[in-house]
């Protein structure tokens, strides 16, 4: 349940005010939220848990961890279905929670 998987950030974008990324896990690409590691850039590796990057890691470490996890046969989490976003309404995205709540200075 606390399984977290390292993956490579291959794209970043804004979605309704949240900083999001496409993250590649050994060939599988999933969406992850970058709000908790806001300084992350494309090409860097992050540790992803239930669709959220919770830590940044370096490339050599990521590869090593991934190989070991692959051995453990624990990637089933990535096989759960994707929920597609419905067509946007055309309204501007809501303000980011961080702006709304003043989370960061």
């Amino acid at each position: 349940m606390c399984l977290a998987i390292p993956g490579k950030v291959v794209d970043t974008y804004d979605q309704r005010g949240l900083r999001m990324a496409k993250v590649e896990f050994g060939g599988i690409v999933r969406e992850a939220c970058l709000e908790y590691v806001p300084e992350t850039q494309i090409g860097e590796y992050v540790l992803v848990h239930v669709g959220f990057a919770i830590s940044r890691i370096d490339e050599a470490e990521a590869e090593r961890t991934y190989q070991a996890l692959k051995e453990l046969d624990q990637l089933t989490e990535l096989e759960s279905p994707t929920v597609e976003e419905m067509a946007e309404t055309g309204e501007p995205a809501s303000p980011a929670w961080r702006n709304g709540g003043g989370l960061r200075e």
Binding site: M1, C33, E35, F52, Q67, L72
Partner: protein, 397 residues
Amino acid sequence: MKYLDEYRNGDIAAKIVAEMRRVQTRPWVLMEVCGGQTHSIVKNGLDHLLPEGVELVHGPGCPVCVTPLEMIDKAHAIARSPDVIFCSFGDMLRVPGSDGDLFSIKSMGGDVRIVYSPLDCLKIARANPENQVVFFAIGFETTAPANAMLAWRAREEKVTNLSLLVSHVLVPPALEAILSAPNNRVQGFLGPGHVCAVMGYNEYEPISSRYHVPIVITGFEPIDILEGTLMTIKQLEQGRATVENQYSRILDRRGNLPAQQLIAKVFEVGDRKWRGIGSIPMSGYHLRDEFLRYDAEKIFDVAEIATQEPKICISGEILRGLRKPHDCPAFGTLCNPQHPLGATMVSAEGACAAYYAYGRHLNPPGGDNLHQIAAGPSEREAAVQSPEERVYSHANR
């Protein structure tokens, strides 16, 4: 390089075990806190690699396991309600309540959906404005940032048809509950690596010093676990008791500060009941008052359902490191992953389910000790022997 690392890791594993033999002078009982660590240990037989006398007992760090039966029944009652779309992480779907599981509710027409990320629930809520979307927000601190973000975004975006059924638990109070029990056996902990990636490890220091136990924050790979075990044994042998960080490639002392800040905005700490263990004071998160309208327990009038666990089940003692799956007369017979009787069998990360998955129920009682590597080979021998050449003892035969 990709495939070389494994072999290097194999060499490192042998060296770590050899170093354990060198430093260890007496028996020690260590607990790995996380279910993910338990799974890795049993799958890889790491406990069988350890020197004789170094025992790993399996901790309470499996959120699916410790979610109380009453809460599961509540979830099922909500999932059966008309017009509800009930969303959950996949590992909760097979957990039986007093009457069936989420899969059976789905098969009888309930709208039960597996989500990968809590944010998926927002998409589902926007796409289904006529329905009430309820998310089963379980987990330890690792999952709290994701679940907190769902509640935060729901409020920010003024989504009105979404709520969370929160059953969040915290690691430090559970460690204190284990250590303060009069019959406690645990002398050192392999700490929860991903929980600490979020929370850091400052809060473990008072526990380590008050109970004089080493706590080594440890990752999930075989090498991580062996290294964490070695670091813990070294502290014990030297009479030290501090918090150390084996998982430094992932986390530092402070953890993830933005995540901690949002958790604090959404959740407050309160009492929680743990399946198999009972109520532990201040051991879980609840939604803050500002988020009451997103609290499924408040929105849905679900009566408290009195539940009773089978008397034969010893999962409470297993979760506290007092007993092992083989000590249970029902293990592998009356109780198995298809028909679990208690906490440690309901999730793949529970100790009983992990033992079962890797065939340990086929061993005779006491079979945990069957394949211990004979104690005492020199460091040089342990370092150069391949696993096939090692001598196995059959202690209990």
